[in-house]
């Protein structure tokens, strides 16, 4: 049934995005992110919407939270048999949902809080690599199930519908998080498939994206060199893997990783001082395969921060605002004003210059910092 | 004073870098100990320095070099003197295959046997005239495609006393230069379009000069060598493949 997702057609879509962070780690009710994304209703067409929340599972914060969707009971059972051989599940339950009139025949959703059963303690990075490997294997090889997210103390809720419908369905209003991101989708070529909605997530990376990446074929092939399998054929998936490669595996600071994705032009690089010029020249030479060409604005989040980035000539919009401990990112200013009418600061980031908002270290459990 | 180095645990890149640095500092004599398989020693070096190598250097000893004099107290491996332009390599031992490939100038003296395809595509040009002298015997394809220079085979000292002095296909495609073989040569071993002739006065004068230098380096007796018969091999034409094509 779900084979179509692995068809060779790349997803093309336009969209709206929103994100909120409280840098003190205070929890933000889900209502706010719902309000912000539904304010950008016109940017979607009812074929996809989703949310990612960080800090939503304080009781299970030490476990990888797997959000899983399944086509039917059989697929789910097959998946569970496989999963329980691989990991220890501390707790699992259906993801609570409401009936929504307009949503017909949704898939089954369950969440599993798991840890890897290892003979010896591995460094975090290696443990995470193992988890990623398992998630990728399941998503590529097990029919009828799909893991939507797999990070600690975070989760992705997404599906086919308008944002308010998906929020209603997943009871987003009942969650609280210190980081939220949301997406409203306007796909032009794929029928709505719940797994194809955004955010896209891997470990605690989650990403929402607006635009179309013209360099998709180049980026996908580049990622394959490092073992990433781009099964979803969406730009968002590619962006997520690029960030994972550059930031988590190659240990590039976020700023440089973002510069690799949206580098300055050669003519700009030529004008820089020797040291910076050499750095950026080398960055473009080594990471040419990671350059995201074409229009995009992305918001990505992880346990500890949120980042906004636009393409190198700013073909897609992004607005950022600050109010007290809150930072807001969205495609449209109105989406911020609707939940924060009088921000202290509001600005339009420059093309290719990332906006990186991190919490001070020690704010939340399992915190990561890449800045 | 020689710069004496034990390079046993050094990479070849490090050895060459060090040599270059020292040469730039003005050093002119070197002694390398512990050489075993270090490739490309003295590659591309242009200064007229002297060096002793103790051990067995790796492939491409003195490749592209244009000046140094190298004395090897041991055997040399394949491709020694590859595309060398000037200088001298003296080997007090045997040598592998493809010695002096495409060599344009300078001298290579080998005390013992050499392998296959030695002196291929040697060429002379203007004041450059490459010379290879082999004290022992050679494998097949000696002087293949040879376009200039001189190869002399003496057959004095060999691991293969029962074998003929050279291998088969000697001088295949040769279109310049001269090969001298001490003693008679069975035309069976010869490539096509070559002629064997006895040496003349001019040849003898040349042989005397060059063999004097060889004998001095190798501590051999010139008299006993020069008084032997030599066969001279030269190409019939500078254009061995002139009639190969139909237009």
């Amino acid at each position: 049934m779900w084979e179509f997702i692995f068809k060779d057609n790349k997803d093309i879509s336009g969209c709206g995005v929103s994100g909120i962070i409280n840098v003190k780690g205070s929890l933000i009710p889900g209502d706010l992110i719902i309000k912000s994304i539904t304010c950008q209703e016109e940017r979607g067409n009812g074929l996809g919407a989703g949310f990612a929340g960080y800090g939503i599972y304080p009781d299970f914060k030490e476990f990888y939270a797997l959000h899983v969707m399944a086509e039917d009971k059989n697929s789910l059972e097959r998946f569970e048999r496989f999963l329980f051989q691989q990991v220890k599940a501390i707790y699992h339950e259906p993801i609570p949902t409401r009936k929504v009139k307009t949503i017909k025949n949704p898939p089954i959703f369950k969440r599993y809080f798991v840890k890897l059963e290892l003979e010896e303690q591995l460094p975090t990075e290696e443990e995470e690599n193992k988890l990623i490997e398992m998630v990728m294997y399941i998503n590529a090889n097990l029919n009828g199930v799909y893991i939507l997210s797999s990070g600690k103390n975070m989760g992705v809720f997404k599906g086919v519908g308008f944002p308010e419908e998906i929020a209603e369905f997943f009871k987003i209003d009942e969650y609280q998080a210190y980081i939220w991101t949301a997406h409203n989708r306007f796909p032009t070529n794929t029928p709505g498939w719940w797994g194809g909605a955004h955010p896209f997530s891997l470990l605690d990376w989650s990403i929402v994206h607006n635009g179309e990446i013209s360099s998709y074929g180049t980026n996908k092939r580049y990622l394959e060199l490092f073992g990433y399998k781009c099964t979803l054929l969406t730009d968002t998936e590619v962006v997520t893997y690029l960030l994972d490669l550059l930031i988590r595996r190659h240990k590039q600071p976020i700023k440089l990783a973002c510069t690799a994705l949206a580098p300055p032009f050669w003519m700009e690089i030529e004008r820089l001082e020797e040291e910076e010029k050499n750095l950026l020249e080398a960055l473009r030479i080594v990471y040419g395969g990671a350059l995201l060409n074409g229009p995009f604005a992305i918001i990505f989040a992880y346990n500890g921060g949120i980042v906004g980035l636009t393409d190198r000539v700013k073909l897609r919009p992004l607005v950022v605002a600050k109010f007290e401990d809150f930072y807001y990112l969205a495609s449209e200013e109105a989406a911020i004003r609707t939940i924060c009418p009088n921000p202290e600061l509001i600005w339009y980031p420059k093309a290719g210059e990332p906006v990186i908002i991190e919490m001070p270290m020690g704010t939340i459990p399992n915190q990561k910092s890449y800045a | 004073m020689s710069v004496i180095l034990n390079v046993e645990n050094w990479s070849y890149t490090k050895v060459n870098q060090y040599l270059r640095e020292k040469i730039l500092e003005g050093e002119t004599e070197f002694e390398l100990h512990g050489v075993n398989g270090h490739r490309y020693l003295f590659a591309g070096i242009k200064q007229k320095i002297k060096a002793k190598i103790l051990g067995v250097p790796g492939l491409d000893l003195g490749c592209f070099m244009s000046g140094p004099e190298i004395y090897v107290y041991g055997n040399v491996q394949d491709a020694c003197g590859n595309t060398m332009e000037e200088g001298k390599i003296v080997v007090y031992g045997m040598a592998g295959d493809v010695i002096g490939y495409s060599m344009r100038g300078g001298k290579i003296f080998i005390k013992g046997d050499v392998g296959y395809r030695v002196g291929i595509h040697m060429k002379a040009y203007q004041d450059k005239h490459p010379v290879i002298i082999i004290g022992g015997k050679t494998g097949d394809f000696l002087g293949e495609y040879m376009a200039g220079g001189t190869i002399i085979v003496l057959g004095l000292l060999s691991q293969h006393p029962e074998k003929p002095i050279t291998g088969k296909f000697l001088g295949t495609g040769m279109h310049g230069g001269v090969i001298y073989i001490r003693g008679e040569l069975d035309p069976f071993f010869l490539g096509k379009n070559l002629k064997i002739s006895p040496i003349n006065e001019e040849d003898l004068t040349y042989l005397k000069t060059i063999l004097t230098e060889y004998c001095a380096d190798m501590d051999e007796n010139l008299e006993s060598i020069i008084n032997d018969r030599f066969s001279k091999i030269t190409p019939v034409s500078h254009r061995p493949y002139g009639n190969l094509y139909a237009y």
Binding site: G217, T218 | R39, R117, Q126, E144, A147, Y245
Partner: protein, 507 residues
């Protein structure tokens, strides 16, 4: 009995002289190096020997009154699908002369031209095309080995590199000039190409004939070639460019060496090749220091040691059946760039059987190599340069989308300076002054003209490539590399599409 030459009975071309236009100025006699035109003093008329005409069109172009038309000779053999005139005439030639058939330029058989079965994508609505006249469009490309990841360290103000990158060559567009030796082509062409390469911020290639002293000033835009004959190769030569190319083979004649006949080795060529006047310059089929892949590594590092690791070393091979595995071996042997020349790659002289029938088309080779290097996880560390049959800027774009970093061109440059593809370069009599070093003939094509024509051509291609990139929504050439999504096939089989990794149009 007078020898019979069957091959002279059936000329390929027919020289038609329009008597009403001809003013008997005899320019045609002077221009034709094949002695087609003669003057009959007794009858005071111009005569022509059709059998000598090679179809270069020089006389036609130079005739001040347009009185000459060169046509295919109308004389016909009886139709026979198998025994067409091409094969009949070749047999006559070989029966007359008893030699190997010789040809110039690349394979002229109607093998499938894959470039012509690929179409290019453009943006409509979902992402915007970019107008290169208004916005930056980056064609800059670097050749050489690249590390897998960058090591940086923090500074007070930001970050800096921990370690400089290995030597890389910067190109301002992803095109370089293919190796064509001085000897095969005239010195004037080398001089013009070198100057054009400098102005364009790209590279030209000496070919295997050494480097003429007048060209040392173009160092930063020179690739020096080291082929099996090692002509003109010494350490100064190796250091005279920015890169060294080991030529293992070329597309027009994979598996065999080269041969510059002694009559072409004049004073200047002898100096440049460092061989005596008038001797044949023979390049053996293999480098005799390379009989295996580990020997290739030997030569690569011999060159690197000799030039102190300051120059990237390229390895050029012909595209043959196993090209993917060969290319992978070359990268692993330490080459900084792999140059692959397809079956249509040009030549000054190649045995006809090789030119026509040995090797594979470059389009398939690029894709296969790109795929293999990806599977092995080494594609991003090296540079893939493709050549052999690139005819226009769209071919360049397609080659890059199939996986090349850079393309090398030769024949288009020669056409740009007047070549009419008569395919008789091996005679050394090129009436256009291209494939010759006859001092009188080379005057017909001064270096300035070469420079201007080649610069114009490249300038035009550069604009076209920018337009095509912009239409695809890309503003930097690296986003086109291996981007098969930007191509679609028309009329290819499933197998061909699999090799090229492209979908069919409509998919």
């Amino acid at each position: 009995m007078k020898p019979i030459n069957f091959s002279s009975f059936y000329p390929d071309f027919y020289v038609e002289r329009l008597e009403n236009k001809c003013i008997k100025c005899k320019i045609c006699i002077k221009e034709c190096t094949y002695e087609v035109h003669t003057w009959d003093e007794k009858k005071k008329i111009l005569k022509e020997d059709h059998s000598k005409c090679v179809g270069c069109h020089r006389c036609e172009a130079m005739c001040p009154t347009n009185a000459i038309i060169i046509k295919r000779h109308p004389s016909q053999f009886r139709e026979h699908h198998l025994w067409n005139p091409y094969f009949i005439k070749n047999i006559y030639k070989q029966a007359d002369k008893g030699g190997v058939l010789l040809s110039s330029t690349g394979c002229d058989l109607p093998l499938k031209i894959y470039f012509d079965h690929l179409v290019i994508d453009a943006c409509q609505v979902t992402n915007p095309p970019i107008d290169p006249l208004r916005e930056p469009m980056e064609l800059r490309t670097y050749i050489g080995s690249k590390p897998e990841k960058l090591e940086v360290e923090k500074t007070e103000t930001g970050y800096k590199l921990k370690k400089a990158l290995p030597p890389l060559i910067k190109l301002e567009m992803p095109i370089i000039f293919a190796g064509m030796s001085y000897g095969a082509i005239s010195l004037h062409i080398h001089q013009g190409l070198a100057r054009a390469a400098k102005e364009l911020g790209i590279l030209y290639n000496t070919g295997e004939g050494g480097l003429h002293s007048s060209l040392y000033e173009y160092k930063d835009h020179t690739i020096v070639q080291c082929a099996s004959g090692r002509f003109g190769v010494n350490v100064d030569y190796l250091n005279a460019g920015v890169a060294i190319e080991i030529k293992i083979g070329q597309g027009a004649k994979p598996g065999i060496g080269g041969h510059l006949p002694g009559e072409k080795v004049n004073e200047e060529i002898s100096k440049t090749r460092m061989i005596p006047l008038g001797t044949d310059a023979l390049s053996p089929a293999p480098h005799h220091d390379i009989y295996s892949i580990e020997d290739l590594r030997g030569l690569i590092y011999a060159l690197k040691e000799a030039t102190e690791y300051k120059k990237p070393v390229f390895v050029k091979v012909a595209a043959v059946n196993n090209i993917a595995a060969i290319a992978s071996g070359i990268v692993r042997a330490g080459a900084d760039a792999v140059v692959i020349d397809g079956i249509r790659g040009g030549t000054g002289a190649a045995p006809t059987m090789f030119r026509q029938y040995v090797g594979i088309p470059i389009e398939l080779a690029i894709s296969a190599v790109d795929k293999r290097l990806r599977e092995e996880g080494i594609r991003h560390k090296t540079t893939l340069i493709a050549s052999g049959g690139i005819r226009c800027s769209a071919d360049v774009v397609k080659a890059i989308a199939l996986g090349a970093d850079v393309v090398a061109i030769g024949t288009p440059l020669l056409i740009a300076v007047g070549c009419t593809l008569c395919q008789r370069c091996y005679t050394g009599k090129c009436p256009w002054g291209i494939a010759t070093n006859n001092p009188e003939l080379i005057k017909r094509l001064p270096p300035e003209v070469v420079y201007e024509k080649v610069y114009n051509l490249m300038n035009a291609w550069r604009s076209e490539i920018k337009e095509m990139l912009g239409a695809m929504g890309l503003n930097s050439i690296e986003s086109l590399r291996s981007n098969r999504d930007k191509l679609r096939a028309i009329g290819l089989t499933k197998e061909e599409m699999e090799i090229l990794e492209v979908k069919h149009a409509g998919e």
